[in-house]
């Protein structure tokens, strides 16, 4: 029996990624990282800033996301996100730029606790990419 399922990542502008041969995916769900294998029960959750790790027959890929919504149903995982990029394709300048932006945002005193938490997460992740 095959152990593969489908992963679909969509941007508002276009379909970002479609993979049919994914064996495991790890997503940064809001309440902690979540690993999903085939035949997981249907689930809806949303993402916090972090890394999506996709393992498939053709190798492993890492993507950085800032937010998004995940739905898993009938062995098809859909991720809706407006900010995602492949770690391999990104240059350091862009990461630094995001990092700087996030750090400034974090210093803002009017920020709510929840947002502060999310921004700090973002900073940690960006630092690890660097």
């Amino acid at each position: 029996m095959s152990e593969e399922f489908k992963v679909e990542i969509v941007n508002p502008e276009q379909s970002f990624l479609l993979k049919e041969d994914v064996t495991e995916i790890i997503i940064p769900a809001f309440e902690g990282e979540m690993g999903i294998l085939k035949d997981h029960i249907p689930i809806i959750s949303f993402l916090k800033p972090g890394l999506i790790k996709i393992s498939s027959k053709s190798g492993e890929e890492d993507y950085y996301v800032e937010d998004g919504i995940v739905e898993f149903k009938n062995n098809c995982l859909s991720i809706l996100t407006s900010s995602i990029f492949n770690i391999k394709d990104v240059n350091k300048d862009k990461v630094n730029e995001l990092l700087k932006e996030a750090e400034e945002h974090s210093k803002n005193s009017e920020i709510t606790d929840q947002n502060k938490y999310l921004v700090d997460q973002k900073i940690d992740i960006l630092k690890t990419i660097n």
């Binding site: 508002p12 502008e13 769900a29 029960i41 249907p42 949303f46 919504i69 407006s82």
Partner: protein, 291 residues
């Protein structure tokens, strides 16, 4: 009657206008294809968003305490209307149609004694509305600088609407835009986005029992603001395709009309040229006879 010289000048001017309209038509056709592609690419996101929202609202346990974006504030006193138009003119009835639809709605609202607030996106709509509804316009936005429709712009509009909603500045929000049916037909649409009418959401809901993490309410709270931006984005994509389609057909008929005009003017020009020649001949002949 116009002199020969005048006619010649007019023919030349109509011909150069024709050249411009023809070029504009070509440009619009090329842009239309791109806009249509973009609209198609953006569709999966909106569809999936709708599906998830439907599944969520079906699964929600406590309907009384549903988020306000879904259930409304319980009142319908203040209406916010977001009118999406283009930034450029010369596109036939595109902007006028949206404005007409919006004005009909505005009239209905003010007759019911409710307060009206307007946000215009796109400068052409603002130009047309400011004459009558100057006091109702609370914000005007324009994305002239962005070459293509992008999600960030839509998000800006979405965020502004959400912020204003959280300050309880309005109860109902409706957006106006043109839906792209085909090159010749664009249908002006009004769509209520707050509170969300789930019965109008297209999509398939499934009976699967979902697991929610965290709970439904929190996901909905996170998702509904995103949905506002998504709906605006969708409207903007439809609008840009409609704009180009409308411009293309407008410029097409302008080119045709210019062609007809050139033909008519040419006939007139030739006639008066011949008349002048005949007149000269008559003068010469009668002059020779009198000798």
């Amino acid at each position: 009657m116009a002199t020969l010289d005048d006619l010649k000048k007019r023919i030349a001017s109509v011909k150069s206008t024709q050249k411009i309209t023809k070029a504009m038509k070509m440009v619009a056709a090329a842009k239309l294809r791109r806009a249509q592609e973009n609209a198609e690419k953006g569709r999966p996101y909106a569809e999936k968003m709708n599906n998830i929202i439907l599944n969520l609202t079906n699964g929600i346990s406590d309907k009384e305490n549903a988020p306000k974006l879904l259930s409304g504030t319980g009142e319908e006193k203040v209406h916010l209307c977001v009118v999406l138009t283009s930034d450029r003119g010369l596109c036939g009835g595109f902007n006028t149609n949206i404005i007409k639809k919006a004005k009909a709605y505005f009239k209905k609202i003010s007759e019911e004694g409710k307060t009206l607030k307007i946000i215009t996106v796109g400068s052409k709509g603002h130009d047309q509305l400011k004459r009558v509804f100057k006091d109702n316009i609370i914000e005007k936005m324009s994305f002239k600088e962005s070459k293509t429709i992008n999600y960030l712009d839509a998000e800006k509009v979405g965020k502004m609407i959400i912020e204003s909603f959280e300050k309880l500045e309005f109860d109902v929000c409706t957006i106006f835009y043109n839906k792209f049916k085909n090159v010749i037909t664009q249908i002006p649409q009004e769509q209520q986005i707050i509170p969300l009418k789930t019965s109008e959401v297209e999509g398939e809901s499934s009976d699967d029992n979902y697991e929610f993490e965290p709970d439904e309410d929190e996901i909905l709270n996170n998702l509904l603001p995103k949905n506002i931006s998504t709906q605006i984005f969708k409207a903007m994509l439809e609008n840009s395709a409609s704009e180009q389609g409308s411009r293309m057909s407008a410029m097409d008929s302008a080119t045709r009309n210019a062609g007809e005009m050139v033909d008519k003017l040419t006939i007139e020009y030739n006639r008066s040229r011949q008349a002048a020649i005949t007149k000269e001949l008559i003068e010469i002949i009668s002059g020779a006879e009198s000798l």
